[in-house]
């Protein structure tokens, strides 16, 4: 996965080479970038796309180097997939097909409107990234954001701020966790101006847990400096990916951008299939 500088370079290159399309909607017009023939991306989406492209190019270049050094047969990157899935009774755990993952962002738990708005915007981008990676749909029920208290007002999960004293930046749950744990928790440290991770990337990582993915760095191939966890009830969706969105930044691998790599894409599609936007639906 690229560092911030290299993804910015990729972003600049893409911006200067891609065709721009202007979409008019009443008095509002939006400029979008066309990629891969028929995908229209706004600035934020293009940034994520640039990170993914950078990750893929870096992996390809590493493969060429390995091959040139005579490192033996190197499997084509596109054929690899990553991610560690959660299992129960020997079967992979995932959300039921067709289930829309609804959420609300509990405004009263945030210490300021600015923080609430940052969480809403971050969730929008992070859910968008996963929706464009595999066959899953999230829905923000913003009408429930102003609910009183901290109880779930009727969504699949809630997003809230909680002061955990910096034990984590954000925390999440797995699909097979008890319903009362279905919360994405955001610590005040998430809003720190000096946060060393991409805040949207942090939410992409947390939503990876929500979809049923464990940490990538718990595999035996990860650097020994990375934190250990129990491997029970997990299934490797295939090979280890040091650049995965689910990998911590440890042992000099991982990334602070926490972008979803092309390898993550293939792994997550093993569980959820292709993104719904890939299809032309016929009635």
């Amino acid at each position: 996965m690229p560092d911030d500088t290299t993804s910015q370079d990729m972003l600049s290159r893409l911006k200067s080479s891609l065709k721009k399309i202007t979409i008019e909607d009443g008095d509002v017009s939006e400029e979008l970038y066309r990629v891969e023939g028929d995908l229209l991306l706004d600035e934020d989406q293009l940034e994520i796309y640039a990170q993914q492209r950078e990750a893929l190019e870096k992996e390809r270049s590493l493969q060429k180097e390995r091959a040139a050094l005579g490192a033996g047969d190197v499997a084509p990157q596109e054929g690899r997939s990553s991610l560690v899935g959660v299992t129960s009774n020997g079967k992979l755990v995932r959300w039921k097909p067709g289930l829309v993952l609804t959420y609300c962002v509990l405004k009263n738990t945030f210490s300021s409107t600015e923080r609430y708005e940052k969480a809403v915007a971050g969730m929008k981008q992070a859910t968008w990234a996963w929706e464009n990676t595999c066959g899953i749909t999230f829905q923000h029920k913003s009408e429930l954001d102003n609910s009183n208290g901290t109880a779930n007002p009727g969504t699949l999960f809630t997003v809230r701020e909680i002061d955990a004293g910096g034990q984590f930046i954000a925390a999440a749950f797995f699909p097979n966790d008890p319903k009362n744990r279905r919360r994405v928790l955001i610590d005040p440290s998430y809003f720190d101006q000096n946060l060393s991770f991409d805040p949207v990337g942090v939410l992409r990582h947390e939503l990876g847990h929500v979809l049923g993915f464990r940490h990538e760095h718990i595999r035996s191939q990860a650097p020994p400096q990375c934190p250990d966890e129990t491997m029970a009830d997990t299934l490797d969706l295939t090979q280890y990916d040091p650049q995965s969105v689910m990998h911590y930044f440890c042992g000099n691998v991982g990334s602070r951008t926490l972008a979803i790599t092309d390898i993550d894409r293939i792994g997550s599609q093993k569980l959820y299939g292709m993104p719904f936007s890939s299809f032309n639906y016929v009635e």
Binding site: T150, I162, N180, R181, H215, D228, E229, T230
Partner: protein, 102 residues
């Protein structure tokens, strides 16, 4: 009592090995760990949850089992997890490595 299929892996694992449950119940180090990673509760009736596996939430059984798995690595930087692992008897240590780290 919860249905077997509704219980977490950690609870099933500890139920299967009562000796470990006993060690867990006696452990003062686990009390220390609990204090360190307890999640703030909105009200007293709420289940006490902990931060486990870095950034997910779990109950006391999951906290303990996760710490044992981490502590089974002699090179772990988590001294408390290592102490928890070393509190268990050698047969249990072998079992932890075999079942939690496979």
């Amino acid at each position: 009592m919860a249905d077997e299929s509704e219980k977490t892996y950690a609870s099933n694992f500890l139920d299967k090995h009562p000796a470990l449950r006993e060690t867990m119940a006696r452990s003062k180090r686990l009390d220390e760990l609990e204090k360190k990673v307890a999640l703030p509760k909105d009200d007293e009736s709420e289940e006490q949850l902990y931060i486990v596996r870095g950034d997910t939430v779990g109950d006391k059984d999951e906290l303990y089992v996760d710490a044992l798995a981490r502590g089974s690595n002699p090179e772990t930087k988590d001294a408390l997890a290592r102490e928890l692992f070393l509190e268990t008897d050698p047969a249990m240590q072998a079992l932890i490595i075999d079942e939690l780290k496979k």
